[in-house]
Amino acid sequence: MSNLAYQYKDSYSPLLPEPATEADTRRASELYPSFETADTAQVVAGVIKRTYAHTTLSRMVPTRALPFSSVPTKPNTQYLCWKNTSNWNVPNPDLIQKLQNIFREGKYEIFEDGMHSTFSRALVSLINAHGSVAIDALATFLIDSNVNPEVASEALRWLGQVEHTESYNRRLWLLERSLRSPEPAIRDGAILGLSFLDDPLVIPALWEALQTEEVSQLRKAIRQVLEQLKNTQQEFESSAISDSEN
């Protein structure tokens, strides 16, 4: 492994997926050196390719040089929010404090599927007010702190439910990242959050999670979401064909 690969790992920020496998690390090392001053675009290209490995988008993204302006986009779709690996939204201490308070209070609630709680209302309100910055703070909080798994699980469910376009990609990433949490409750929250997003682009991440998931009930839940997303994808395709015929 080259030093550059280590550099990639060392510069890991909570907003970029850490290399999950040796292959991912190697891919990062291939990407990193070619544009020393545009390293962001290189790493981001790697992220796009991995996240959308089985989609057309992946084939459109070159393995090497990729300035941001050339990232292919579709109308009404944001693929990435990260602009610089070293310049992501530094967690706002006020937001972190607010989240800590919300999570502390959340520990005393009993959550029910489909029911708003004081916790969920506070979280959704924070996301609506602060957008991606709130998700960045939440990411730091969920990944770095010793968070209550049930409350984290509830937070992830609402990340999939909240209607906030600007923060979509960050929410998507955080949900995918949470599939690798050591806590089963958090993984279940992520699975449900992703099911609520109902975005077929998460299929590769769910397939990956299915290969490593050890809890049978969660494997079943992942399969159920994969089935749901397959149906959604078929509906998209049918609708696209129908549109093109008209």
């Binding site: 599927d113 489909g114 439910q161 209607e163 099911s195 609520f196 809890v215 009930q217 839940a221 159920q224």
Partner: protein, 172 residues
């Protein structure tokens, strides 16, 4: 044989922690069996499950948002044979027919409640219906005018998805 259904949060009912002895349940599961006056609310599902979707829609209409529906389903006679007592009290959902299928399991002691949890796991069926399924059930009940829209507790965003008018401000 009719069945009894109870809405739960499914993840707590599966052995997801390595520290949990085989055959045991995590303590948090009992949160899904919240009692009121030593009573638990259940709905009856026909043995051919013909009313399952309708009961599901009625229970989902009691929520604020359309989401997944995790449930435990169990043979009602098995519960009666185990000594559990029931009363046929009307339910409180937006579907007046579903309300007639409501039962209260009464005179529950802590021991009986714990036994109920294990009976649900060992002899019942614990499963999840995803959000699209729940939405289809709600759509069917709305289409067939089974739900009193004034009693549907869903928030306006989800009411709109079902073609229901927004809740009047004082009901929100």
């Amino acid at each position: 044989v009719p069945l009894a259904i109870r809405k739960i949060r499914g993840q707590k009912w599966s052995p997801r922690y390595s520290w949990l002895p085989e055959g045991d349940l995590e303590a948090d599961a009992i949160q899904d069996l919240k009692t009121e006056n030593n009573t638990i609310s259940l709905f009856v599902i026909e043995d051919n499950r013909s009313n399952f979707d309708r009961v599901l829609a009625a229970l989902a209409a009691n929520c604020t948002n359309i989401a997944n529906f995790d449930y435990a389903l169990i043979d009602l006679d098995a519960l009666k044979d185990s000594g559990y007592k029931f009363t046929e009290d009307p339910g409180e959902t937006a579907d007046k027919d579903v309300n007639k299928w409501h039962l209260n399991m009464i005179e529950l002691s802590l021991k009986k409640l714990t036994q109920l949890a294990f009976t649900l796991v060992n002899r019942g069926e614990i499963d999840r219906k995803d959000k699209p399924y729940v939405k289809r059930c709600l759509e069917a009940s709305v289409r067939e005018n089974k739900l009193d829209s004034q009693l549907v507790k869903l928030e306006d965003k989800d009411r709109a998805l079902l073609g229901l008018p927004p809740l009047p401000p004082k009901s929100k």
